[in-house]
């Protein structure tokens, strides 16, 4: 199993590892085009902070069912996201480069359960998932640098142990 896991993609956020979703020729764009992602990131960062979803206190409220705020944010984000995906599929909307927009098909493995629970622990402790960590740092909480560093260490240790872990 371990040998086969080495060549199996369990990380569906990674397009370039997903043969179905990625073809070399389609994505030759000048590197300055990446600046648009910087702009999207800036927008996302501002939204995260103004919505207070990067607040440790709001996360504590969510996990104690003491406020609807976070559930409202995540729920309405999913509703808008799902509607967008539905419309893109229905009208076969292409990307601005004229490519077909393809969606990775995720497969189930034990990682989503075990890793999911472990991330849930970390989320409740730090009050932040990865996006908010970067936003907190920018917003002046310099000590978040330590949390981000440890998240990188955690990712690295997962990579190191991956073939020994149940999937």
């Amino acid at each position: 199993m371990n040998e086969s896991l080495k060549n199996t993609n369990t990380d569906f956020e990674m397009r370039s590892l997903d043969a179905m979703c990625f073809s070399e020729e389609q994505v030759k764009t000048p590197s300055w085009h990446n600046l648009k992602y910087l702009l999207f990131g800036i927008l996302f960062g501002i939204i995260l902070i103004k919505a207070e979803v990067v607040s440790w206190f709001r996360i504590q409220e969510m996990f104690r069912l003491q406020s609807f705020h976070m559930f409202g944010v995540i729920g309405s984000a999913v509703a808008v996201g799902a509607l967008s995906v539905f419309l893109i599929k229905k009208f076969n909307i292409k990307s601005i480069y004229g490519e077909d927009i393809k969606f990775p098909v995720k497969s189930m493995n034990k990682g989503q359960i075990i890793g999911g629970l472990l991330f849930g622990f970390g989320w409740a402790m730090t009050g932040a998932c990865p996006g908010p960590l970067y936003a907190q740092l920018g917003y002046g909480a310099t000590v978040t640098l330590v949390t981000i560093f440890m998240a990188i260490v955690g990712t690295w240790v997962y990579g190191l142990l991956r073939e020994k872990l149940p999937h």
Partner: protein, 189 residues
Amino acid sequence: MHLIELITQPWPWYIAGPLIGLMVPLLLIFGNKTFGISSSLRHICASCVPAKIPFFQYNWRKEIWNLFFVFGVFIGGIITLFYLKDNSAVVVNPKLVAELSQYGITDYSGLIPNDLFSWASLSTPRGMIMMLFGGFLVGFGTRYAGGCTSGHAIMGLSMLQFPSLVATICFMVGGFIMANLILPFILSI
């Protein structure tokens, strides 16, 4: 009320949630990218310390858009700090205020509690556990699960992917267990 005043106030969920959801079509249409932030941590490992680990042997330059995006999130934080900051403390449920005051957490002025997360509290056992171990679990858990709140809960659920539903439920269950059953012990240290 002026627009800028309106923007600096905390945004209600029904404004912020749909805006976050719009990140999904924005990234799909403007670059055929799927929304997901935790993979940035993997790219940082792959670019800085791959150490011959197979999981980090890939061409991270092809995923560099993701690093631009998270750098943008950081810049967005700076912009908000200087131009869109709201000086009022976060308003939370009184039950939470009562609970946290037992642990000496009374300062609601920051995004993260200054009583718990600061350079000074990094040398206390409680601060160390929360930041070092908590951060580690965020990185380890998201990569093990193959995504985080953005990749699974928002992007994955938007694509109606069953594995993402399982992952999202597990994130929540893990958070409930930590916040209600384990955190009271850590915070009392």
